[in-house]
């Protein structure tokens, strides 16, 4: 399989097949990211198409020194932000603590709370996670998805979102603890 930068070069010369290969390579990861973040598969499919169209139009601005997946997901992330703005969802500032208390979601393990997953099978846990994800604020959910569904490194996520690595780590952790708490809620 040709490298991304090679395909981009060919697409820039007008080779539509090369761009179609890029679409086939990234349709699954992009749909997972968008779908898991917004929670609606059909909307996510429309968004994925929009993101590919935006990427195609922006290809002349792409530099081979950049990792293509990071560049593409940055476009996708901006698309989501536009969507949330249009929906007038309250955008959580990722630079501020979610609860107003930085340490509120970092209890010591010596007080682990109820072990909500001990008796559950993995498949059931996944179902519960998917449901619990809906209760996590969009901006935190997005970071969680980038890390655990799209499997980007914390450094790559920081680049996509334009945030410090420490902030990304903290927010991903907060999302996970929120999911855990929601799963344990009656």
């Amino acid at each position: 399989m040709p490298e991304d930068s090679k395909l981009v070069k060919q697409a820039l010369k007008g080779d539509r097949k090369a761009f179609e290969m890029i679409v086939r390579r990234y349709e699954q990861p992009l749909l997972n990211y968008l779908g898991r973040t917004i929670g609606e598969r059909e909307t996510a499919l429309d968004f994925a198409q929009d993101v590919f169209l935006k990427a195609y139009a922006a290809l002349p601005s792409y530099r081979p020194a950049w990792k293509f997946s990071t560049w593409l997901f940055k476009i996708a992330s901006n698309h989501l932000i536009d969507h949330w703005r249009k929906k007038k969802l309250p955008l959580v500032s990722l630079d501020q603590p979610i609860d107003g208390e930085e340490g509120s979601l970092t209890p010591q393990a010596s007080d682990p709370g109820p072990s909500v997953v001990r008796v559950l099978e993995l498949a059931e846990i996944r179902d519960r996670i998917e449901r619990a994800l809906e209760s996590v604020p969009e901006m935190l959910r997005e970071l969680f998805v980038l890390r655990h569904v799209s499997e980007f490194s914390y450094e790559e996520i920081a680049e996509i979102k334009g945030l410090p690595v420490g902030t990304v780590k903290n927010r991903v952790f907060q999302a996970k603890e929120m999911i855990r708490r929601t799963m344990g809620a009656p």
Partner: protein, 193 residues
């Protein structure tokens, strides 16, 4: 037990984000503290589930659908000349539309456009000729300078060691330029009163 593991460290350990020394300390504590072990086991199960969520199904023909949404000819290729030509055409069309809207007949608009084109061509030809002439003069000057530089190098190398000839000629040229600039300033040549 003191120094218990915080949940964020447990997750970082599970993701392989702790360094080797921190990981060893982590494992050491885990072996001694049953409470942390319970917290660790719970989060390990969660971590496993987080990283194995089922992928969403991409419908057949999605890539085709995307490609069909990209109109033919809307290539991503950067074509500056095409953009320039399109801009010129758009400008010409706008001007034509404007003059027609002002009540001028199509014939008179075309005639005046033709005159303007000829005038533009007539004006640009002398400019082109001057540019070519100036380029020739500059080339002459540069080749003269290069020849005198090579000549000086040859003469100098007969008096001094060859490895010193090049820096000496360079120094000579630099001094000459400095003197010319100094004289220019002294005599206020080219300066406005």
């Amino acid at each position: 037990m003191s120094g218990c593991l915080s949940p964020d460290r447990i997750f970082l350990y599970l993701e392989g984000e702790l360094g080797p020394a921190a990981s060893r300390a982590f494992e050491g504590h885990l072996g001694r503290c049953p409470e942390c072990r319970a917290a660790f086991n719970e989060r390990r199960l969660l971590h496993e589930a987080f990283t194995s969520l089922a992928p969403l199904e991409v419908p057949d023909g999605f890539a085709r659908r995307v490609m069909e949404a990209i109109p033919d000819g809307s290539g991503a290729a950067f074509r500056p000349f095409a953009a320039l030509a399109a801009a010129a055409l758009a400008l010409a069309a706008t001007l034509l539309g404007f003059r027609l809207a002002m009540g001028e007949s199509l014939t008179s608009v075309l005639v005046s456009a033709g005159r303007a084109a000829w005038a533009g061509l007539g004006g640009s030809l002398p400019l082109l000729a001057k540019t070519v002439k100036a380029a020739g003069l500059i080339l002459d000057l540069l080749s003269g300078l290069a020849a005198s530089f090579a000549g000086s190098l040859g003469i100098l190398s007969s008096f001094v060691r060859p490895e010193l000839a090049l820096p000496a000629v360079g120094l000579g040229f630099a001094l000459t330029i400095a003197m010319i600039l100094g004289a220019r300033r002294l005599l206020s040549i080219g300066e406005k009163p």
